[in-house]
Symmetry: C2
DNA sequence: TCACAAATCAATCGATCGCTTGAACTGTAG
DNA sequence: CTACAGTTCAAGCGATCGATTGATTTGTGA
């Protein structure tokens, strides 16, 4: 058997880092970047105030790390759901895949939802110098335009891109606003039954009817 | 001619109050409630820090006054637009009326847009004890359900109410997120041409097509 | 002209902010 | 056991927070 590499000190440090990241995501989700204070984060994480400087350098660096993790996790989940679509899917199935990660987070609550709320808040107040991740968002929207374009031959790519941003914005709004929490309190399946038609209608626009 | 009631001291005080309200709305729109600081508000208003306490009692009272004004102004504009609809209007016309105030603010920018952004932020982080205005929001949604229900006979009132909240949430998102600013930078009329079909589709849902 | 009220001002308060410090604690190695 | 590195800790730093104070300016009305 291989020699176990279990330095209890390093493991304790890693646990502290994880607790700090969990705590700051909760505060980011609840109050936004402007509302994050060092003491509240360290109290939630049951850590000393100096732990933030020691492990991350500064409170801002801790926030940036947590935000970057959240954005990356959300984008990967959403792109995976869209990529897994069948080639002959319709708009409703695309909408369901597009909204899947958010709907699951709404139903689950907890840290999953906190990640979503953090992502949504960053969509409103984007930190400066996040070109890499905003580029990744743009790319994911281009992918969805490719899926959506054949289903709506009369709509230009720019307008489709706008509709996707509207749909994404609506999901973010549900993550943040009380209406999302109320929706999550409905019976199971209600989220999907109510939300997917709205998103599909937004994708489809007015073209399908007078 | 009637004796002019022009006490220059009271008029100066009123001007200071107005400048403080304008300034705090701008900061509320830009950074949210957590991001408002006394100094930034008074600097923007070119007033002394003590002016806030003197005229409003506290920074929170100033914020509450500005937020209440903004909510009331937005709701009145939206309800007036919807009430002015013809009896035989279709869903597109309802969507255009519903989005009218927000679209005009997006195009106009300035304080109009700041009011909208403040309203939108309150929709995410509602202060405690705002039962009166949230009740007014509920009432306005009931009015729109009345307009929308005959156009969509297969959809229940609860689901219609949800769709209206989605549409309102989307408008709020456009007020806050960069996508709204980009949309406002498009040629005149582009906002309405792109946004109204999305809202109408969201109202209509999937029922109109396969 | 003069007493008074409305408004503004600089100065300052205690509290809290993010962050740093040096010591203390803890488990790892030689 | 000793020396040391990784981590945690209480204490305190300067800066900024919202709010208050007493003095000062300014226009009103007798």
């Amino acid at each position: 058997m291989v020699r176990e590499r279990t330095d209890q000190r390093r493991e304790a440090g890693q646990r502290t880092r994880d607790r700090l990241l969990s705590a700051v995501v909760e505060v980011l989700a609840q109050r936004g970047q402007e509302g994050v204070t060092l003491r509240e984060v360290t109290d939630r994480a049951e850590a000393n105030v100096a732990a933030v400087s020691y492990h991350f350098g500064s409170l801002k660096a801790l926030c940036d790390t947590a935000i970057e993790d959240a954005l990356e996790r959300y984008l990967d989940a959403q792109m995976a759901a869209v990529d897994a679509l069948e080639a002959d899917s319709d708009i409703e199935e695309l909408a369901a895949a597009f909204a899947g990660p958010m709907m699951r987070a709404l139903a689950a609550g907890g840290r999953e939802l906190a990640v979503m709320r953090t992502v949504a808040r960053v969509g409103i107040d984007p930190p400066k110098g996040w070109d890499r991740l905003t580029a990744k968002f743009r790319q994911s929207r281009r992918d969805i335009v490719q899926e959506l374009s054949p289903m709506l031959p009369g709509v230009g790519d720019q307008e489709l891109n706008f509709r996707i941003r509207c749909a994404a914005g609506l999901l973010n709004w549900l993550a943040l606003a009380p209406v999302g929490a109320e929706l999550a309190a409905e019976p199971p399946g209600q989220i999907e039954r109510w939300l997917v038609p709205v998103l599909a209608g937004a994708f489809r626009g007015s073209s399908a009817a007078g």
